[in-house]
Every structure is written in structure tokens, then in C-alpha cells.
């Protein structure tokens, strides 16, 4: 009887699967307080005729827990983050810039984007990829990145591109990804609509964390 009960419990566990809970840390963009422009919950900054969102690629897994999901998920067993994140530390820092324009008149020049770490001076992108499609919701949720990639478009020439639809440009900066405790700012200049510059407020990045609950088969 006891054995049958254990077997049944195990079978239920196998059938119903597990759940993985991840706690991830990242640098999240925000606007200075007092700015007339607002950022929505998904990180889009609404400007005249265009929405802009950015994501930094310095996200790191802080903690993970796994556990059964009989009726409600119970991720109660801690996992070392190194078991889940096996990629080597990145040598350069990528920032994704997503643009959602209205109309066909927008041009974006990523060479005018400036990354600022305190008083260290400005850094400019050394390589760009895109414009590419925005990553789907699930990829964005799991990777924290905005762009769906198209490597054929990787270019060492960082220059103006027409933005005629919801698009994403990945910019590579020649610096190691900062820790989430490092404050930095991104100045997006070089965005214009029919030749008229569009002023994007400076985006400041600060530490943030997010929880991701994933059902496992």
C-alpha cells in the first residue's frame, strides 16, 4: 500500500512536471524624475510620432530554485546559478534600442548614441546589428533582450538607417558589461523624422531585479 502510494506520488510528479523560479538582476533604464515624458510599464518612452525602448545586456542570474508543480508551483530546492548560466563572460557590452515609428520618415543614426559611465567620458558604438525584428514576447521575457537577430546585417559601419516599422538595433560598445551596481546613462541622439531631430531624454540605468517562473515539462 505504502509502495503504491509512493509510486502514485512520483507518477503525479512526473506527469505534472516541475517549475523553475529564477531571480535575475539587470540594469534597467528609467527617466529622470521631473521629466515631462513618461515611460510605460513595458519600458517604452512615448515621444512625438515614435516610441523608444532600450535594454542593456548585462543581465545575470542571481538565484534559482526548482520544485514540483502539483497544483501550484513549489520551487523550493535551490540551484547554483552556475548550473543554469554556462556562457563565458562577455568581452563587450550590447545595448538594444527598439523604435516604433509612425510613418516612414524616421532615420536613426546609432553613431550619435553615447554611453556614459560617470565622469569617464562618452563611448560610442563600435558595431551594430539591425534593424531587425523585435524579439517575441517569450524571448524578451526570458533573455531580457529586445532584438530578434539577423546576423547578415551585422556591420562594423555604425551609420544611419531608415526606420520604417517596429524595429530594433543592437549596438556593441567596446567595454566589458558593467555590474548591475554600476550607474550609467545612454544618450540617444541621431533620431530624426523627415529631417527634424527627435529629442530623446537621457536614459539612466540602475539596478533592478525580476522574477521568472517557468513551468518545466
Amino acid at each position: 500500500m505504502m509502495t503504491r502510494g509512493i509510486c502514485l506520488a512520483l507518477a503525479l510528479l512526473v506527469v505534472q512536471g516541475c517549475a523553475l523560479l529564477e531571480v535575475r538582476e539587470r540594469s534597467r533604464a528609467s527617466l529622470d524624475e521631473g521629466n515631462a515624458v513618461r515611460m510605460d510599464k513595458e519600458g517604452w518612452v512615448e515621444l512625438a510620432g515614435v516610441r523608444v525602448a532600450v535594454a542593456a545586456s548585462n543581465e545575470r542570474l542571481r538565484a534559482a530554485m526548482i520544485g514540483p508543480a502539483p497544483m501550484v508551483p513549489l520551487p523550493i530546492f535551490p540551484l547554483p546559478p552556475s548550473w543554469l548560466e554556462t556562457h563565458r563572460p562577455a568581452a563587450s557590452f550590447w545595448i538594444d534600442v527598439a523604435l516604433d515609428p509612425e510613418g516612414e520618415g524616421f532615420v536613426f543614426d546609432p553613431s550619435q548614441v553615447r554611453l556614459r559611465f560617470g565622469q569617464d567620458g562618452d563611448r560610442r558604438a563600435v558595431r551594430m546589428i539591425g534593424p531587425a525584428a523585435l524579439a517575441d514576447l517569450r524571448s524578451r521575457r526570458h533573455s531580457g533582450r529586445l532584438c530578434g537577430y539577423d546576423p547578415r546585417r551585422a556591420s562594423a559601419v555604425v551609420g544611419p538607417v531608415a526606420i520604417t516599422q517596429l524595429s530594433c538595433v543592437s549596438l556593441e560598445f567596446d567595454v566589458a558589461p558593467p555590474t548591475v551596481d554600476t550607474a550609467f546613462a545612454l544618450g540617444i541622439e541621431g533620431l530624426a523624422n523627415a529631417g527634424a531631430p527627435v529629442v530623446v531624454p537621457t536614459l539612466v540605468f540602475s539596478r533592478d531585479h525580476r522574477w521568472i517562473l517557468t513551468p518545466l515539462p
Binding site: H87, R88, I129, D150, R152, Q165
Partner: protein, 230 residues
């Protein structure tokens, strides 16, 4: 009288069972409709054709037909290992427009050369909201092909065989996003060219025979839109 009085008592479980069966059938229909991957076919009415001959602006767009799927390497970009490949939608769109200009010379359609990114919605077809956001008003033809994953290594296709390709074509009124015409056609792409995966669009990966079949698909769509008599 007794018989008629007792009839409802006897029939009540039967009626309940019938209602339950009808409800189950209804729910199944709703579920199946929700799961269906084929968008409904909408025939072009004579007034739709008349609208096309006098409306301006009209744009024609196609969606990105090849996507090597790999995030940027953190040191240097390398070859993609998987790619999503669809039908040559640019070529099909241009053949469709060429045929339409020949049969309806008064129609002026702007052919948008840059492919659109497909943000899919119900029936796994592109959301027309994004066309409205870009082009604002008027009519829009769009041509979309669901993609198949192929394995690519060292810049060449490892398994170049594809299954049938489908092209979905629509005519949309952008003001209210009404679908005025929707149809699709299917063709056999045949084997793809193994060495052509680094080229900028999917057309170069098709053999001549595969492209001929795609052209016939465009002709079928045009006939479906204009009707056989035109």
C-alpha cells in the same frame, strides 16, 4: 392525456442530454476555430475590384522571408546554425503586381521594396495594425509565407528538402483594418540550393523549377483576386 402529461418527464433527461451534446459540439467548434491555423478565405467582390481601380494610395508589401536565427556572438558574429525559410514573397508580390497592371492598367500600386517584419497574431498571420501605423490610410496588399526551419552549417544547407510552402495574400483597408480579400496558395518548393544561404534573400536559395512553381502560385492568387473572366 396521461401520456402527454408524462411525456415531459420521460423526455427531460433526453432533452438535457441533447442540450449537453449541442453545448459540447458548440464548444468543440469554438475550440477548433480558435486552434485553426488557416485564416478564412475572403473572396473579392466586384466593388472591391472597383475600389482598387480608383483608390489611392495603394501599397504592396511582403514580409521577411529568411531569418538566420542566432543572437550576436559576444566576440564576433559567426555562421548561423538554423534559419527560418519561407516562400519568395518579394518575387510573388512583384509577379502578382505585374499581372494586375497588365489586366487593370489604371491601378497604381506602390511596391514597397523593404521587407516587413511579421508580428504574428491570430491564425499566425501578420498583424495589420503595423501596416496602418506605417502607411496610415489607403489600401494595402500584403504577402506572407509561414516559415520552415532548416539546418545551416558553414554557410550551406545541411538538409535542403522542404515541405509545401503556403503564401497568404490579403487586401486590407487601413482606415479600419478591414480585410477586403484574403486567399492563399500552396506550392512544392523542391530542394533548395545548398550553397546560397548567405545571400540576402530567400529567392536565391530556390532552384529555377521551384521559382516557376512559386510564379504559378502568384498567378493563381491573381486569378482568385480578379476572377477568371478578367
Amino acid at each position: 392525456m396521461a401520456h402527454s402529461a408524462s411525456a415531459p418527464v420521460i423526455n427531460r433527461p433526453l432533452a438535457r442530454a441533447r442540450r449537453a451534446r449541442a453545448s459540447a459540439l458548440g464548444l468543440a467548434c469554438v475550440a477548433l476555430a480558435g486552434c485553426s491555423l488557416s485564416p478564412p478565405r475572403i473572396a473579392a467582390r466586384p466593388e472591391t475590384i472597383a475600389l482598387v481601380t480608383r483608390e489611392s494610395p495603394i501599397v504592396a508589401v511582403h514580409y521577411q522571408d529568411i531569418i538566420p536565427a542566432r543572437p550576436p556572438a559576444e566576440d564576433a558574429p559567426s555562421e548561423p546554425r538554423w534559419a527560418s525559410v519561407g516562400a519568395p514573397t518579394r518575387r510573388i508580390k512583384e509577379r502578382f503586381l505585374q499581372g494586375m497592371r497588365a489586366r487593370l492598367p489604371s491601378v497604381e500600386v506602390r511596391n514597397v521594396s523593404e521587407p516587413r517584419f511579421a508580428y504574428l497574431v491570430r491564425y499566425l498571420i501578420p498583424d495589420p495594425h503595423w501596416l496602418k501605423r506605417t502607411f496610415g490610410r489607403g489600401l494595402a496588399f500584403d504577402f506572407y509565407s509561414p516559415q520552415q526551419s532548416v539546418h545551416v552549417g558553414g554557410g550551406v544547407l545541411r538538409f535542403p528538402m522542404m515541405t509545401s510552402m503556403t503564401i497568404h495574400a490579403r487586401l486590407l483597408r487601413l482606415d479600419d483594418l478591414a480585410v477586403l480579400w484574403a486567399d492563399s496558395c500552396t506550392f512544392e518548393p523542391g530542394p533548395l540550393d545548398r550553397g546560397a544561404m548567405t545571400l540576402p534573400d530567400v529567392e536565391h536559395t530556390y532552384t529555377t523549377a521551384g521559382l516557376d512553381r512559386a510564379d504559378r502560385c502568384a498567378d493563381t492568387l491573381l486569378t482568385a483576386f480578379l476572377g477568371p473572366g478578367r
